[in-house]
């Protein structure tokens, strides 16, 4: 088991009180697993991704543990996290295109980065060239400034840099959202390739686009308002979702080939609850057609079939 997250609670501190962005998140990630983390905006998916590597100053670790390869990850301890970052846990940030230093050539930036992490840049040079070639970039990019690269090229450069030290866990946050469809496919496929070649052991792929994670992820975890709603293999989530939220979300997505005349798709009425003072019990209950009295208690995340977890009183 690569990653084991148990009852993780991370709140944002604001002047009006704590925002319960992650409220008891539990899941496991196996070796070699690519997990798609999907949900609407404000569901906590990016917060979860960030919590696994670095809490910013507004984020407060309230409870729960994270274990990576059997070792505890001390996320609240800024100093103790430093040796883990990049070596063990790495991140491709949202808007990776603006993550590159505009005043440094790519090659120079990578050297600086390696020195800062205590790695001799010469020792990884061959590997760097090999990996650039693998994602279809020429070595020449190392002598260029970020502004000279296209969006897809920058994304691939960041991908190569993030995985250069073979981290155990890679968090990819909305890496393909700003790309055109054809570049999107190339980037997504090279991420799978990186996993297959063992450059990263496992990956959390944060996205709002379910049809994209279906293409590349082994499992999909769906979040709603700070809670985990359902986790199962990608095929199961898309074809036989059990939780009412997942079912409604999947059926609201138009597909290539579906037209309004063939059948009108319906959205989910209402909007997610505010997390400053979240409702008790199931957080989807106000929008859920199946809600009943028991939903005022929080449903536990239970394994309803091997590898298929859902948090709903009606599916248990």
């Amino acid at each position: 088991m690569t990653l084991r997250v148990n009852d993780l609670k991370v709140y944002y501190q604001t002047l009006r009180g704590d925002v319960h962005a992650l409220d008891g998140v539990t899941f496991d990630l196996a070796d070699g697993e690519i997990m798609g983390l999907a949900g609407e905006s404000g569901c906590g998916k990016t917060t979860l991704g960030k919590s696994l590597i670095r809490l910013d100053s507004r984020m407060k670790h309230v409870g729960g543990t994270i274990e990576l390869d059997g070792k505890n990850v001390p996320i609240a301890d800024e100093k103790a996290m430093v040796p883990l970052r990049y070596h063990e846990i790495s991140l491709i940030p949202q808007y990776a295109m603006s993550a590159l230093n505009p005043t440094r050539k790519i090659g120079r930036m990578i050297k600086d980065l390696m020195k800062a992490r205590g790695v001799d840049p010469a020792s990884i040079e061959d590997e760097l060239h090999r990996r650039l070639e693998l994602v279809g970039l020429e070595q020449d990019v190392l002598n260029r400034f970020p502004i000279e690269l296209s969006g897809g090229m920058k994304q691939r450069v960041v991908m190569v840099i993030s995985t250069l030290l073979n981290p155990s866990l890679l968090i990819a946050d909305e890496v393909t959202s700003a790309l055109d469809v054809s570049t999107q496919r190339a980037v997504a496929e090279s991420m799978v390739e990186f996993r297959d070649r063992g450059f990263v052991k496992s990956m959390v792929f944060v996205t709002h686009d379910l049809s994209l994670v279906y293409q590349m992820a082994d499992t999909i975890m769906v979040m709603y308002a700070g809670h985990v709603v359902e986790k199962a293999s990608a095929k199961t989530i898309v074809n036989e979702p059990k939780h009412p939220y997942t079912q409604m979300l999947i059926s609201a997505l138009p597909e290539v080939g579906s037209t309004e005349e063939q059948g009108r798709l319906e959205g989910i009425p209402g909007k997610p609850p505010g997390l400053l003072d979240p409702p008790t019990g199931c957080r989807f209950k106000d929008r859920c057609p199946l809600a009943f009295s028991k939903c005022s208690e929080r449903p536990p995340l239970v394994e309803i079939e091997p590898g298929h977890w859902a948090a709903c009183w009606k599916t248990g």
């Binding site: 709002h208 686009d209 049809s211 293409q215 898309v238 138009p254 579906s258 309004e260 959205g267 909007k271």
Partner: protein, 302 residues
């Protein structure tokens, strides 16, 4: 109703405007009342530029844009332009920046009233607003008297469409109006567009997402580097894509129930009919060839 005839747009680029960039190349298309036309393309395909030219925000470098027979570049003067916007309105990608955060969201309705309907009585106006909100399926209690930050993106987007409906609108330019919305509310806005179509509104739907373009539109136009790659009835373009670029795009779109490998296999098993693509005689024109009724393919730009 709307007709574009060989429209070109060339931007001046570079420090002193010395460079030239052809953003739209020889585009001709029409939008009829009650018809949704999707303009689909990747970034840099000229789809937004086309939308903005129809809205009169840019002037075409060459060619004509006719709205009900009048060339819109000949519309001069405040009163005439105001009259044009009574019939043609746009809604844009980011609903949050379409509103002034200092004022309440329903101020946009008041602006329409003071500009276009100063003579209408309070009670009458209120009825019209409620009617428009009903059409876009918003509960007036939820949106009136609220600030933009209190509303969701989907609600704001529908408020903007309701605003357009208060006018005597005939053509709506919807530029990526759902790409910033969440999956669960997206479909409501799409369904609304199809309701409006039933009422006889023509809609120019600009999008980068093929599956969204497909859901709602009657006609699809796939753009590549400013020129039309393929244009035709939506069902034909998606079932029988003939241009190599359309096929490439379709193979890259992530689909919910089919993997890329499956789509690749399917496209390979159904090779396109042998279509001879037109060849452009020069750098500027982009001729189309009609392959079947109403289904056109354009030049191959590699």
């Amino acid at each position: 109703m709307l007709e574009l005839k060989n429209v070109h747009k060339v931007y001046r680029v570079g420090a002193f405007g010395g460079g030239r960039k052809r953003a739209v190349r020889d585009v001709s298309l029409t939008v009829e009342p009650g018809e949704v036309v999707s303009l689909i393309g990747e970034s840099g395909s000229g789809k937004s530029t086309l939308g903005k030219m129809v809205l009169g925000l840019f002037r075409p470098t060459e060619g004509q844009i006719l709205f009900e027979g009048t060339d819109i570049t000949t519309i001069k003067g405040h009163a005439a332009r105001k009259e044009y916007y009574r019939h043609v309105q746009g809604v844009f990608q980011d609903p949050f920046s379409s509103f002034n955060p200092i004022f309440k969201a329903d101020r946009v309705f008041e602006m329409i009233r003071s500009t276009y309907y100063p003579g209408v009585s309070d009670a009458d106006w209120k009825d019209r607003v409620l009617d428009a909100l009903g059409t876009v399926r918003l509960d007036p209690d939820n949106v009136l008297n609220k600030y933009p930050h209190q509303l969701s993106g989907g609600q704001l987007q529908r408020v903007l469409i309701a605003r357009a409906l208060l006018l005597d609108i005939k053509l709506l330019v919807a530029d990526e109006i759902i790409s910033m919305l969440d999956a669960s509310t997206r479909i409501d806005v799409l369904n609304l567009l199809s309701d409006l179509k039933e009422r006889g509104l023509g809609i120019l739907f600009v999008t980068h997402d093929l599956s969204l373009g497909n859901y709602v539109s009657d006609k699809s136009v796939i753009l590549r580097k400013g020129a039309i790659a393929e244009m035709g009835p939506t069902a034909r373009v998606f079932e029988n894509p003939l241009h190599p670029y359309s096929r490439h795009l379709l193979s890259c779109v992530p689909q919910l129930h089919r993997t890329w490998a499956e789509v690749d296999a399917e496209l390979a098993a159904n090779p396109p009919e042998d279509v001879e693509l037109p060849v452009a005689p020069d750098e500027e024109s982009a001729p189309l060839v009609e392959v079947e009724e109403g289904h056109f393919v354009g030049i191959n730009q590699g």
